[in-house]
Amino acid sequence: MSPRSAWTIALPYLAFFLLPLGWLALTSFWPDAELARPLPSHLTLENHAAALSGGGLARAVLNSLLVSGATAALALALAAPAAFAVARLGVRGGRALLGGALAISMFPPIATAAPLYTALRAARLLDTLPGLVAPYTSFSVPLALWLLTGTFRALPVELYRAARVDGCTPLGAFRRVLLPLAAPGLATAGLLVFVFAWNELLYAVTFLTSPSRRTVPVALALFGGEFRDPFVVLAAASTLATAPVVAIAVLFQRRVVAGLTAGAVKG
């Protein structure tokens, strides 16, 4: 497929995905009293000011970045060696691990919230960010495990053999040869896990109580009034909060492309 036809295909998708987002961005400049009208009489920055007042949102973005980053890093650190072992070392029960991991991670979060709450309190991790990272990691390891097992299997087996012949231990071959080549897979898995943690609301709202430890979804959930749902402020807050993640995604994509090229040269 040529780049030109690729862009031809991509354009309708861009419209489909971005037009509603444009509407969201426009809504964030909309005066609240005029939300029910087809178009606003004027645009305002009041909603952004309201979203940022008190500094809670900036703090929440920082917390979310920390939690999501730690979750992604931990999930990759746990899943990559396991995936390598399942894919290349022929670990007994590897398939059972994959299947079991998948099944466990798909347990409805609502059913796990109460038992986890009790467990976290016993571990004195309630209302701490690590107390949130622990369940997030455990529920996102399976996705990373599946993705990375596929990635490692797709790398030519000769590479691994050659590294072993050159005197690498299995672990050395994993670290020096396979892991760098798996960079695109790691990046994808990391991004997916990151976004999962970024979006999670139920655990965050159940386990965190201090204002200084709120994550973005919790902060957004707190903008609502008893009856009023100030969507314009929510729109402003969510565009402000989403911007850093999009920036990270852009930087991340550069890394992925760089990793790809490096892989192609070496491969």
Partner: protein, 420 residues
């Protein structure tokens, strides 16, 4: 494995996360510390914080505020999760008017009868909320602020607010003849607790009640008339079809744009409708909801303050003082003036500060006096969920009202029967 810089990343992140935590022991040495869980009252937290700070200064007790999202189901969940887990995480709780009976029966609410004798609660507070917080002769919570269902109408399209359902229909027809295309009556028909409030208001409008001892009685002639009436509003075009998905804000926004003649809503809508940017400013009136033969009571909403029975005795005494502070006449005035919340104390409606700064609230006294609570029974939360689904099915035309109510009754009885 030799530690590589990359392997250190998770370690560093963990350290950064851990640096952000503090011990959750509470302060054993010096000042007492209370945890208050509440839903934010409005966008500006300052007046409420000042109210709490005044208590901290007077009592020397530190208060930790834990804000909850303003979603009643979620708040109920968090309460049940933390109280059900048996911990001492929370001292003072903010309770919906329909939770008190349930949580009191569960033994999760401390008995406050010593600090707030039932007779005094009944005397000082409005009858509706007082009835909700006094259970079996004991006080389990103190009313904080109240809400009541009201009829909003367009004074430029309707000469007199209708007192009966027949008059409501006639007024809509007349107004629509004058302003073609305008919608009639907006209310809340979405499948959620607001629909139950609308239903009970219609039930009372037909002279019915929903309580037979502790048993919820949903399948009565008055209930069938009430649900027939609600369904009829949609089927006959007196209400637009969109009410079957509408919550408070859907109704309020459409009404504020001048797209409807009548609306059922809570008092919060009033200042918004009178906003300088509001197209209907100065053309809106408020009245009691109509009934079959005359005005009907509006549903009682609002919140109460209770104390967790798991809180240690020493903290409980301080918590009772905090509750007294937050439900005092002064606090009633702050909530009314800064946040537009209707006082739960009867005398506050005569408070010159409120009469001067929030005359609309002061004028609501007859409506809040008449407001009626949804059935006060421990089974309400359990059965209410089944009820919402059946009400929604009837209102949207999936089932006949009679069939829907028969099913709701069967489910409510099953819940109470299993429980007994």
């Amino acid at each position: 494995m030799r530690p590589s810089p990359r392997a250190l990343v998770p370690v560093l992140l963990c350290a950064a996360l851990a640096a952000g935590c503090r011990s959750h022991e509470g302060d054993a040495r010096g000042a007492q510390r209370l945890v208050l869980r509440y839903q934010p009252l409005g966008p500006d937290p300052a007046p409420f914080r000042a109210l709490v700070a005044a208590f901290e200064r007077e009592s020397g007790v530190e208060v930790e505020l834990q804000a909850l999202p303003n979603a009643a189901d979620l708040a109920h969940q968090l309460l049940v999760t933390s109280l059900g887990a048996g911990g001492e995480d929370v001292d003072v709780l903010v309770l919906d008017v329909v939770w008190v009976a349930e949580l009191a029966r569960a033994g999760w609410l401390a008995d406050l009868s010593d600090a707030f004798p039932p007779a005094r609660v009944r005397e000082e507070f409005l009858a509706g909320p007082a009835g909700a917080v006094v259970q079996g002769g004991r006080t389990y919570a103190v009313p904080w602020y109240v809400d009541v269902g009201l009829l909003y109408y367009r004074t430029d399209l309707v000469p007199e607010p209708p007192r009966t359902y027949a008059a409501l229909a006639a007024a809509i027809r007349a107004a629509q003849a004058e302003a073609p295309g305008i919608a009639g009556y907006l209310w809340q028909g979405r499948q959620y607790e607001g629909l139950s409030c609308n239903f009970f208001e219609a039930l009372w409008g037909y002279g019915g009640t929903a309580l037979d001892g502790e048993r919820l009685r949903l399948d009565s002639p008055a209930a069938r008339e009430a649900l027939d009436h609600l369904r009829g509003l949609v089927a006959d075009g007196l209400s637009p079809r969109s009410v079957v998905t509408a919550a408070e804000e859907d109704a309020r926004r459409a009404f504020q744009e001048g797209r409807a003649v009548f609306m059922r809503n809570w008092p919060y809508a009033w200042p918004l409708l009178q906003d300088p940017a509001s197209p209907v400013r100065g053309r809106v009136g408020v009245a009691s909801l109509p009934g079959a033969e005359g005005p009907a009571p509006g549903a009682l909403g609002g919140w109460q303050l209770g104390i967790s029975s798991r809180a240690p005795a020493a903290r409980r005494a301080a918590a009772a003082r905090l509750v007294a502070h937050l439900t005092s006449p002064d606090a009633n005035a702050v909530l009314a003036i800064a946040y537009g919340r209707n006082p739960a104390r009867r005398a506050s409606y005569e408070d010159p500060r409120i009469r001067a700064a929030a005359p609309f609230i002061a004028a609501l006294l007859p409506r809040v006096e008449a407001a009626r609570a949804r059935p006060v029974t421990p089974y309400y939360m359990l059965a209410g969920d089944a009820l919402q689904g059946e009400l929604s099915a009837a209102v949207s035309g999936l089932r006949s009202p009679a069939e829907a109510l028969a099913r709701a009754q069967a489910q409510a009885d099953a819940i109470a029967g299993v429980a007994r």
